[in-house]
């Protein structure tokens, strides 16, 4: 489904991704781990099309088609979703209205009519129950004054609403207490199917106890230096990242 080939990206002339190769198949869960500053969030942003980063070499394919020239919204319309580490606050626009706009813009891009209000309400009800989100929460301004946990839960709610093919969860576990973590992970697991894929970006192994990965990759200094199965995540939890750094230095 997702294929990344020799991806190099930089910001303000500074190279951050230095040749990433990654393949994610339908129905798979991949975890990308690594120490701070290794390029994890940059990779997530570049896949989603953030123009702050300049792709200097390589390519990204979604279902065989290069999406490198696609705008962020075109990538979204093609099924890419990024759960942000720091979701942006949008005062004056309620969660519900924001979702209506997002869904109907995607439909418009595909030449489908707006979703009827009744269906929209039903969908919102169904998905908010999945994430155990209170109805009142939906009429609040998007992310404004939300706690860390509320923001992350809201991100996964948006994912549930948009039903992406490829979901990238960037540090979704940061700022979550154990209950919120369980709700978020449960939401992600319920949305998983043989037709979609999830890439979990995390510093810690904690989230991976709930969202169990098929593959684990270690990103260090802009490159994937090690790949393995979920046992690799446990090894990292136990030993930290120093041995990876040493191995990479050799």
């Amino acid at each position: 489904m997702l294929k990344i080939k020799d991806l190099h990206a930089s910001v303000e002339g500074k190279g951050i991704l230095k040749g990433i190769n990654l393949e994610v198949g339908a129905g798979e869960v991949h975890a990308i781990m690594g120490p701070n500053g290794s390029g994890k969030s940059t990779l997530a942003s570049v896949i989603a099309g953030n123009e702050t980063y300049e792709v200097t070499a390589g390519d990204i394919f979604l279902d065989g088609e290069s999406i490198e020239d696609f705008s962020p919204e075109e990538r979204a319309h093609n099924g890419v979703f990024l759960s942000f580490q720091y979701p942006v606050e949008i005062p004056g626009v309620s969660v519900t209205n924001f979702m209506k706009t997002a869904i109907n813009e995607s439909r418009k891009a595909k030449g489908i009519e707006d979703m009827p209000a009744k269906d929209m309400l039903k969908l919102i009800r169904e998905k908010s129950e999945l994430l155990e989100i209170d109805r009142k929460f939906l009429s609040r301004s998007l992310n404004e004054g939300f706690s860390g946990g509320e923001k992350k839960r809201n991100e996964i709610f948006q994912m549930a609403m948009l039903e992406p093919k490829l979901a990238i969860l960037d540090e979704t576990d940061s700022g979550l207490d154990i209950d919120a973590l369980r709700i978020v992970a449960n939401g992600v697991n319920k949305l998983k199917s043989k037709d979609n894929a999830v890439v979990v970006i995390t510093h810690y192994q904690r989230l991976l106890e709930y969202i169990v990965p098929d593959f684990v990759h270690v990103l260090y200094n802009g490159k994937i230096v090690k790949s393995g199965t979920k046992e690799l995540a446990m090894e990292l939890e136990e030993k930290g990242y120093d041995w990876i750094k040493q191995e990479a230095a050799v």
Binding site: G49, E51, A76, P87, I90, N97, E105, L162
Partner: protein
């Protein structure tokens, strides 16, 4: 003949139609002398550095309308907040329209300045308040004072609250090729009274209109006044709004100014805090484009201790539009424990748009909290990416962010139907259907 000469000579014609023996006329006579000496402000003056009235002075404005006109309510309904019941004081080409208005004398006076200035029953109030807070030096204010005859007169006695909000609307019909209007409003809120006022100027054709308006607001002890100015006129109409507010102990006065339309808009908003525990709030949203010009000049004079002032002005400038924000705060030596906040944030969405923003703080007390901030920027790229990543195209995402940027100024609007109306005007002005019901 230039506009100044025309105005000065028109004063003689004006005197033929009013009672020159009324003591009020002495005030007018003094005022026209001041205007005659000073004339229109020029760009050489610091306060008018960025706003030129030169091109307006070249227009041959009629000083008095040629004839009286009437309008049908159904044709102008959309300019009212018609979803709710309101008192209405409506003028057509400067002349009171009784069929569009709904005035009252039931416990409160919501009526006409022409009555207040001429009828004996109002004399005691007029003697105390008329032209008492308005400047006797500023030339445009004195020009208005010289021609003061008509406008809204609102008197809310002690402990009274009118049953509904008050709308003041000035229509111009375009019967004259170019018309100058000089409405004069007097608003008095006695102790513990409360009121809400919505004011609007609306030209119905593309003929030129210049309005030079003066409003005096007096808020006695613990009175609450909410004043909303809706400035969405068409692009051949210009407005100079001079508003003066005198506040006493514990009073709260809020003025919201929504500037979306008009050729040239100048708001001179002056607050004088003559008491303690006073709260003065000034908020504004400006969204303009093309060659529009909006200038906000605010003044808060903290004269006594333990008072607050809050200013929050947001501006979005497109195309060749120009904006000015000048916020002056004076804190007298005696005015300890003053809290004065001022914020002016601007977004320029065109390379050709301009904003000149200037905080001007003169603080003579040493135990005060004063903060000011002004920003001029573009839209937050990260926020834009966030919206786009949810499938919202860049153009709509930008509109949504601009909407969000301006929107929080509306939080303090206490008339829900007005809030909805302003929200719609903002969405409309940003030119994009945001895809949801506001």
């Amino acid at each position: 003949m230039d506009l100044k000469d025309k105005l000065v000579s028109s004063f003689l014609a004006f005197e033929n139609n009013i009672d020159v023996h009324n003591p009020v006329h002495d005030v007018r006579t003094e005022a026209i002398k001041n205007f005659e000496t000073k004339g229109f402000p020029s760009k050489k003056m610091e306060a008018w550095k960025y706003t030129s009235l030169n091109s307006l002075q070249k227009i041959d404005f009629s000083i008095f309308p040629k004839k009286e006109s009437s309008l049908e309510y159904k044709d102008v309904k959309k300019y009212f907040i018609h979803q709710i019941d309101t008192y209405k004081i409506v003028f057509i080409d400067g002349v009171f329209s009784s069929n569009l208005s709904e005035t009252t004398h039931d416990g409160v006076d919501i009526c006409l300045m022409s009555s207040a200035l001429t009828k004996p029953m109002y004399k005691a109030v007029v003697d105390v308040y008329f032209n008492k807070v308005a400047s006797k030096e500023e030339s445009l204010t004195t020009l208005n004072t010289a021609f003061s005859r008509e406008g809204a007169y609102i008197y809310i006695p002690k402990n009274k609250v009118p049953k509904k909000p008050i709308e003041i609307i000035h229509f111009s019909t375009g019967n004259d090729a170019a018309l100058m209007l000089q409405p004069r409003n007097l608003v008095i809120a006695e102790e513990n009274s409360e009121m809400q006022i919505i004011e609007r100027h609306q030209s119905l054709t593309s003929n030129a209109v210049l309005t030079n308006s003066v409003t005096e607001i007096f808020a006695a002890k613990n009175a609450i006044v909410d004043y909303y100015k809706v400035q969405n006129d068409n692009d051949s109409a210009s407005l100079i709004d001079n508003t003066y507010v005198d506040q006493k102990d514990g009073s709260h006065v809020k003025v919201h100014t929504f500037s979306f339309g008009g050729k040239l808009l100048r708001n001179n908003l002056n607050f004088y805090q003559n008491g303690e525990r006073i709260d003065s709030t000034m908020k504004g949203i400006t969204i303009i484009g093309e060659k529009q010009h909006v200038d906000h000049h605010t003044l808060v004079h903290h004269i006594e201790p333990n008072c607050e002032s809050h200013q929050d002005y947001k501006g979005i400038f497109a195309e060749n539009s120009t904006g000015v924000f000048n916020g002056k705060i004076i804190v007298d030596k005696i005015a300890q424990k003053t809290n004065a906040f001022q914020q002016n944030n601007n977004i320029l969405i065109s390379d050709k748009a301009t904003i000149n923003t200037k905080p001007q703080l003169e603080i003579f007390a040493d135990d005060v909290k004063c903060s000011h901030g002004c920003t001029i920027g573009q839209l937050d790229e990260e926020a834009l990416f966030y919206l786009q990543s949810r499938g919202i195209p860049k153009k709509e995402a930008r509109a949504l962010l601009m909407y969000a940027f301006a929107n929080n100024v509306l939080e303090s609007v206490r008339i829900p139907e007005l809030k909805v109306r302003i929200n719609k005007l903002i969405a409309n002005k940003l030119g994009v259907n945001l895809g949801f019901d506001l």
